[in-house]
């Protein structure tokens, strides 16, 4: 047994103008999870401490919260792995969400982004009589199981720096779940799904890998890459800046071994998109004034063949 001090964010949206913090001291085994410590504090000390929980074993995804500033499932985090030498554990609600009460947040934006993706199978035939099974080979299913393991705990969404600056971004979980249906051989709406996720700012992902920390090993970041690749392979929304940017970056590096910034800007915005080009013209002028204007044409680096070999071995779509 050890003394654990839970330093908890307290807030009730109905009555509090600003949040405050409470410290609750309890005697529990250090092997106890943070969630069980919270349950003990609620049962024995203060019944008003509020948090979501259901299964207590990392399959329901309810108890995601910030523990010492890092988002994760409280039921999967032992106290001894997070308490400091004084036994203190700081507990806060997930960031990127509006707090409702203590550790409970408003999940609506997160669910809305799921709903927009139509997160259910849409086969070509309705098969109302359920006469036939829709069969999937083990190999085809294997691609989906990791993404299908998502428990919608929103840990990745809370960790995403792009969501924090632009809430219109679909976020890692929704894109990973879109992948689960985009790659499902039984589904008939691949192009529509790709168009929808592109509308929901798929290309805003900055590939920072923050969402690679996933309690269920879904690896949303790698699924985002897969969905971007599928967008280009299927030729969806190719007139939009996202896919164009990816392709022109690809093209210039393959050609010269370097990023040809002038060409990338033209390729992303569109060579004949005069309005778009005018918008970024001031940036160009400022760069020129500081002597930072990239050269209009680049000579390939000496060993550009090696770069091209890498590209060819990776089967990059062109």
């Amino acid at each position: 047994m050890a003394q654990v001090k839970l330093d908890i964010f307290r807030y009730d949206e109905a009555v509090d103008a600003v949040p405050h913090r409470d410290t609750v001291e309890i005697d529990v085994p250090v092997t106890m999870t943070v969630l069980d410590a919270l349950e003990t504090a609620k049962a024995e000390v203060d019944g008003s401490i509020s948090f979501r929980r259901s299964c207590r074993s990392a399959i329901c995804g309810s108890c995601s919260m910030n523990i010492n500033g890092v988002t994760g499932l409280a039921c999967k985090t032992p106290c001894k792995s997070v308490m400091n030498t004084e036994g203190v554990i700081q507990i806060d609600p997930m960031p990127n969400f509006q707090p409702m009460k203590d550790l409970v947040v408003h999940m609506d934006p997160f669910w809305d982004k799921y709903t927009r993706l139509k997160p259910y199978l849409q086969p070509a035939d309705r098969d109302e009589d359920h006469e036939r099974e829709r069969r999937v080979s083990p190999a085809d299913m294997k691609k989906l199981v990791d993404a299908a393991n998502c428990v919608m705990c929103a840990t990745c969404y809370a960790l995403c720096p792009v969501v924090s600056v632009d809430p219109s971004f679909a976020g890692p979980a929704a894109i990973a779940y879109a992948y689960r249906f985009i790659e499902d051989v039984r589904d008939s709406k691949k192009k529509e799904r790709l168009a929808q996720i592109n509308e929901d700012y798929l290309w805003l992902c900055a590939h920072c890998y923050a969402c690679s920390y996933c309690p269920k090993h879904v690896d949303p970041h790698d699924r985002i890459v897969d969905v971007k690749r599928a967008t280009i392979q299927e030729g969806v929304m190719m007139d939009h800046p996202g896919p164009r940017h990816a392709l022109v970056v690809n093209k210039t590096i393959k050609k010269t071994g370097m990023l040809a910034e002038t060409e990338v800007i033209q390729g992303t915005v569109g060579r004949f998109n005069f309005v778009g080009l005018m918008k970024i013209a001031p940036l160009g002028l400022r760069m020129a004034a500081k002597g930072k204007m990239p050269p209009p044409f680049l000579k390939p680096i000496p060993k550009v063949d090696e770069v091209r070999t890498i590209f060819e071995s990776l089967e990059v779509p062109t």
Binding site: D12, D46, G47, S48, S50, K101
Partner: protein, 188 residues
């Protein structure tokens, strides 16, 4: 078991929802009973108005303890009687002494947990009283004092009726209807 129960939840959840929709369409305007609404409101107000007494988590722990100790896998009369007595006491002290600490109207999990424990005590009383009365072993009921299955006397459903401050009234008026699968001795 996870696979079975999940499938069952989805299939029967959909059937129950469809049935409920049909029922509502046929019933026209459905109004909840004023009496029920009033008694529910009184139940909640009572818990919220008090500032001392017993809290639901403590009674839940007492219930868990007696159920795990006395109504577990292998059952016998002496232990089941103990559980029936314990649960009636827990039921009475819940109705008399329970209070909810959190008075907030926002996401009040303390209140929801109290409601859950309230229902769980009823469910536990049904299980314990039903298990004590059923003097045979069948399916998940394994009585070490009555190890055999008794189709002559016990091919009946247990119906339990809630009674204020008493053990539930047990009713065996419904016989089991055998359809496709006739009951057989479990010999594996």
């Amino acid at each position: 078991l996870g696979g079975n129960s999940l499938l069952e939840t989805i299939v029967y959840g959909a059937r129950a929802a469809n049935h409920a929709c049909d029922y509502i369409k046929e019933s026209g305007e459905v109004r909840p009973s004023e009496r029920t609404l009033k008694s529910e409101q009184a139940r909640i107000d009572n818990w919220l108005s008090k500032n001392s007494g017993l809290r639901a988590p403590q009674l839940r722990t007492q219930m868990n303890t007696t159920m795990s100790k006395n109504v577990f896998i292998f059952r016998q009369e002496k232990e089941l009687k103990q559980a029936v007595d314990d649960l009636l006491e827990i039921r009475k002290s819940f109705d008399r002494d329970v209070y909810v600490m959190d008075k907030s109207k926002t996401f009040n999990t303390d209140l929801v947990h109290a409601m859950e424990v309230d229902f769980l005590i009823d469910a536990a009383m049904c299980v314990a009283n039903g298990a004590l009365a059923r003097q045979e072993s069948r399916g998940a009921q394994a009585r070490i004092d009555y190890p055999e299955r008794d189709d002559k006397n016990w091919m009946v459903h247990t119906l339990a009726w809630r009674q204020q401050d008493q053990n539930p009234r047990l009713d065996y008026s419904r016989k089991v209807t055998i359809t496709k699968w006739a009951p057989q001795v479990r010999s594996y």
